[in-house]
Symmetry: D2
Subunit: 434 residues, 4 copies
């Protein structure tokens, strides 16, 4: 994928600038299949329009890098400071999140022009010696990973928006066979002994590109009782068995808040699933409506549904400490993991041993600060810490994640009722007492 | 205004076709100043996106004229039948009104192509002898006036949508002087004697182009007690006096439901008005933010505000019977009335005697069927009758109305809390008892 | 019915005092079947607890009669001034209407004590010569009729509250046969010629007890086209036919706002109706659950349902002008009308000619001021005028109305979606054009 | 406190029966100061009326003990089975929680009669040998502790309900001096080393009365990094300093969800606090409005406010593991703890070392199952497990808790926005890295 504006891509650029250019170009590449009319869509407050993602990621570099560090840089448009601020109270009053779809102006052309302006200025900043180069590098890495995160949200948000259109327009046409030839491999369990383990990211990076968000720090000890964990996520076939057994109609399987959500929103199946007598179960995907493939991992389920399934299966969700320990202790090959570079915009059939990619996995862990956690100083201190309440941690990454993000310590987080991510589940169970 | 697609405009067309072409072209003309991104905007459920207006008016002709009357006509896209149905239950389940802004597809290009297809087919229909030509003419006139109504809504809806953008983009740049040189002329009163009057439209039209909606029928007698009515609408200057006297803070001036709305929505001034110490009162217009001109009629007020003002002024709103009688009995010159053909997209300074145009005038009358009213047979029976509850009648037309609609019997109607139309008020009072 | 506190009832009292004592005693009589726990019930914001009705009617006399006119009278408890103010903004901030059920204090004993105190003071006021005796008489009559209105609301409110209890407690046990032996008599129509009629109450009363509310004034002329009106209200049997014909499922029968309400609230039958296979249709009444009697008039329907039924029956609702004119012009015997003095707390089987009592009848008329209407000066000006928007007029009175209120000009009013009153309907139709 | 119905209290009863009688009698004792009208109050869905608490606790014994284990026992009223079921889906459909205040029937007399009937039957059950006596003992202990929990809720619920009455009625009159003579003692910190600790209750009880809820099990190991914890809760004086420093107006101190709640609900101070120029800060207590005493612990704060305060104080909330470890490792004297048996119905001035009683302390821990947690079989499996999401754990007990509940492992839990409990906070901080 080659972004047309990025005429300098062929030249040798400093490594940080090359990273920057690569990330920036992908945001535009991912938008390529859209109609201009799609760029403004916001079908629920939790999602953002594609144009807003393009603008907000640009705002990040302008606000946190160009304005403080590039001498003489003047903002492209001072009104954008609040318009494309997401939630940084210390930067000023953000524009109402639920109303981002109403921002027909600036037009896409104007946002593209802003991106070009910022990209050129960033190139100057990154190719000129600077006394604060360490802080610049720190923020550049945050900004690059921040934009990768928004690229993933771009996919999940546009899928949700397109799903609300009765015409069910596809993001991309389907050019490959959809249904797998074989069922998902049997579910195997891995046992781990109890004891004190270490999780979290190392604070000291070993190369200029090593990166971890503050919420992965500090690396710390945790005590785990012996447990077993499944070697792969749950498949659609297994989910259909849960449904056939009345899973959505039995309150004893559900958390109280989950059952309330299930009834209030009349959940009968994962998000995007639809049933008709002549087609059977289908779901809306980035390739439009497609049949449910039993061999693929289930996705677009809430944390509540994941929890209910686990109870139905006489198991439970793993804690994030168990998940990270298992990934660190057990042999696995993350090179096979399906991320956005796979070229497939939907989870592929599940493998017998699968630990990364394809679908995010709900854990039983509330998103909370690690022992000794300290948010960074300054406005970027708002990046993660203030969300550490009411959400659950998800691990592993999905088919629309960037491979560069998915270190074992990476923590994603959503509210337990959220369903529009590529979210699935993996089972765990406590070892039987002796 | 000449619409570029309408290449045949110079040729001699049958009169009905000429009317059709004129109306259709205007819908596109009015959209000309928009950015493509603006076509999808829907900032509240009551408003519709420009693209939806373009599509729905096309749907009307396809559904009610081409499909029943043009042999061999196949719908452009069968999915559009429900997608662009507004509220005709007998045509099928309409798409959710509040979610029209999510229809990024069909794209504007597709809607334009639909319009061209329908326009060509309509030209065939209107230039070919047909055994049901009377019914075709009847529906064509309804369709043309229906599209004029949507043209007015296009203006009020886009004004509302643009107002929600903190950049406050103007629909059009302002090329003329805004503030009037003189104040509004003094308010004069006209007295009418009591007695039996006739109102409503004549059922028998005298020319092929005479038109009235079913809700203006039948012409009927009404008894009016003697009354007086103001010769012009209320001005901004008069409204500022109401505000200065605490009009928005005195519940004794308000209807109970009005006071509840005023408090719940925190009304302090008409919609779009904003105050800052250094600019004074300004309001958002189709020309962007502009100062409040005391000489212009007040607009963007709810029926509740109109009623409260009237009580403050020791007067009341006229009934629609009084309004129509006054217009019929008193001399006036509607040629000076400011409609959309004036080229001014905001009410101009009020004249000493002004009965039509510039601003709609709230009346005290609930929108109700006239004695002997019968809705038309078939789906078009849903056009008016089913809205005859909970709304108030407005009379007179506004700066964005089409002149061809504003016969004296024309009845507009909105909920008393609605404010996004160009709605103002005129005072009336009962004659003192002898 | 004899109220135990009213020990002086046997003595000769001045006529106004006798009226006062009679009305006051009835409020307590009507509460006699309640458990103390019932006095605080408020099952929706529109209803009020019995204790609140007892207190508010007392507040009325204390506020509008004793405080201004009885020298030396000190309020029983100054905190009650706002606590039991219903909606008089000029008296001060009323306590939140929706939270009246939270007022466990004052206790019922305290409210009873307040009533005794006020009643004794009122006796002094009404038995002592006073220079403002005309105004006192005017207000006393308003207060007495106000309390009669609250007595009716007491019945409809407690019915609603008890209906929310799954035990379905009856207000009273049933001691008579419920189902009528015969069906409702056939529906006959009465024709009235067009012309100018007079409606409304006479401003000049002919006796000291004549009374009309301000909203019935002034008497005025109105022009009516010729019309026909049914001689009795619609029966349950006729309503069942409407239901059997899909009346609740056909949007073409409904006003747009009515259909929205029908769907949002999932109306399938009148309020309180329930169906089970082994009991058929039953409804909750003041006598508990009872079978639907086809011979009784339908009640507990909204104005929207009434309107839909009329359309289904190829008729319409009468306007209030038609209703009052018909009652005034046609012979009828209101002595047979079923009011609260009948001893039956549910509409009795409908008679062939029935114009008053049993059920309120929805009209097509929005509640609006009559021509020349002027609200009274002072706080009592808030009594009626400020509700003249968004509501429909009902006429005729119900089985729980006081006979003394039901002069032909009496106007009741509720929102078209309201269903908890004893509200039914009568049909009308325009005379066929010649 | 001696309950009048409990005439047998002086006789020697088997220990379990004595416990049962003691607990049952207290429920009635606590209601003694109420007016009958207070028993039905429910001012928000989260609270329950006193009568409902009396009935539901009775339902518990009837449903889980008498029906399964007492031969020949017939339910007092079969309709009560769903009416007073709180949330046990496996027992049938519970009555709507938010509408408990509408249950005027059964009357209080009927509920008292039910209690007497159940108490007599329980006495039979507990004084007769039974083959399932172990299960009966298990359930009896749950039922007794369940009723203690509802006794605490009785206090917090009635406080909330009475606070909504503008008369501000006191639950009890105040007979003692309110303001402390001295300020709160200085805040001291206690340090604990890192390492593996054990928390949770022992599964094997050492006496017939040892009790722990399932959510306190199993006892398990946990690794803690070194930390420091305050020796007492935060005082009102310290909270006033937070407020004076703009704590309620600085979003940087707040979790994102907390800031949203703070703004939506316009928090300016703890629940029940009110300020007026002439009284200063006061708060509504069970003794009515009383001045804020700086020496008492702050209470009626949400978890969000607690978290914001901790951030403002450069500290954090302890985790529940830290709290329980500290209580287990540090010397403390819980005999001084203020529980309901103190006779004080409001937190007393804070002591220099205070670990139990007076106010619940929000922790940073989400309420989640302990490793190896298994809910009990049967309906009682719904007691705790299904609430393990979205709530935070509170520790320590309050002035209205029963002393018999407050073992170190006891876990209370509420949503972070809840404020109507006696909830305060204690600070913790991570040991500085070396």
């Amino acid at each position: 994928m080659q972004h047309p504006h990025d005429t300098s891509a062929g030249m040798a650029a400093p490594p940080l600038l090359a990273l920057y250019r690569d990330v920036r170009a992908r945001s535009l590449d991912y938008c390529a299949p859209l109609a201009l009319e799609d760029y403004g869509l916001q079908a629920m407050p939790e999602t953002s329009p594609p144009k807003w993602h393009l603008a907000h990621t640009t705002w990040f570099f302008e606000t946190f890098l160009l304005q403080p560090f590039l001498p003489g840089y003047a903002p492209f448009n001072t009104a954008f400071r609040s318009l494309f601020n997401s939630y940084y109270n210390s930067v000023g009053q953000p524009f109402s999140r639920a109303r981002r779809g109403l921002l027909s102006r600036p037009t896409l052309d104007e946002v593209h022009a802003w991106r070009v302006t910022v990209d050129r200025a960033m190139a100057r900043l990154l190719t000129t010696p600077h006394p604060q180069h360490t802080e610049i590098r720190r923020r550049l890495l945050i900004g690059a990973h921040h934009e990768m995160q928004h690229q993933e949200l771009f996919f999940t948000d546009i899928q949700y928006s397109l799903s609300c259109n009765p015409l069910r327009p596809a993001y991309l046409p389907l050019h490959h066979t959809w249904l797998a030839e074989t069922a998902a491999p049997p579910l195997a369990w891995q046992a781990l002994p109890g004891g004190v383990y270490q999780i979290g990211a190392e604070a000291v990076q070993t190369s200029a590109f090593d990166f971890a968000f503050d919420n992965e720090l500090p690396r710390h000890r945790t005590f785990l009782e012996p447990f077993e964990i499944a070697a792969r996520p749950i498949s659609n076939g297994e989910w259909l068995a849960f449904m056939a057994d009345g899973g959505y109609h039995n309150p004893e399987l559900w958390l109280a808040d989950g059952w309330a959500a299930c009834q209030a929103q009349q959940w009968q199946a994962p998000l995007y699933w639809e049933h008709s007598p002549h087609t059977g179960w289908q779901s809306f995907t980035l390739y439009g409506m497609q049949p449910i493939d039993p061999a693929r991992p289930v996705c677009h389920i809430s944390g509540y549904e994941a929890d209910a399934f686990a109870r139905w299966a006489s198991a439970r969700l793993p804690t994030e400490q168990e998940w990270e320990t298992a990934v660190s202790q057990l042999p696995h090959n993350s090179e096979h993991a399906q991320f956005i570079d796979s070229g497939h915009y939907h989870p592929q059939p599940v493998r017998a041993s699968q630990w990364f990619g394809s679908v995010w996995e709900w854990t039983a862990s509330s998103y909370a600060p690690y022992p000794g956690y300290r948010p960074p100083a300054g406005a970027l201190g708002e990046y993660n810490g203030k969300f550490m309440c009411n959400q659950l941690v998800l691990r592993g990454g999905s088919c629309v994640s960037d491979r560069r993000q998915l270190r074992p310590s990476y923590r994603n987080f959503f509210y337990p009722a959220d369903r529009w991510q590529y979210s699935g589940l993996r089972l765990a169970r406590s070892a039987a007492p002796h």
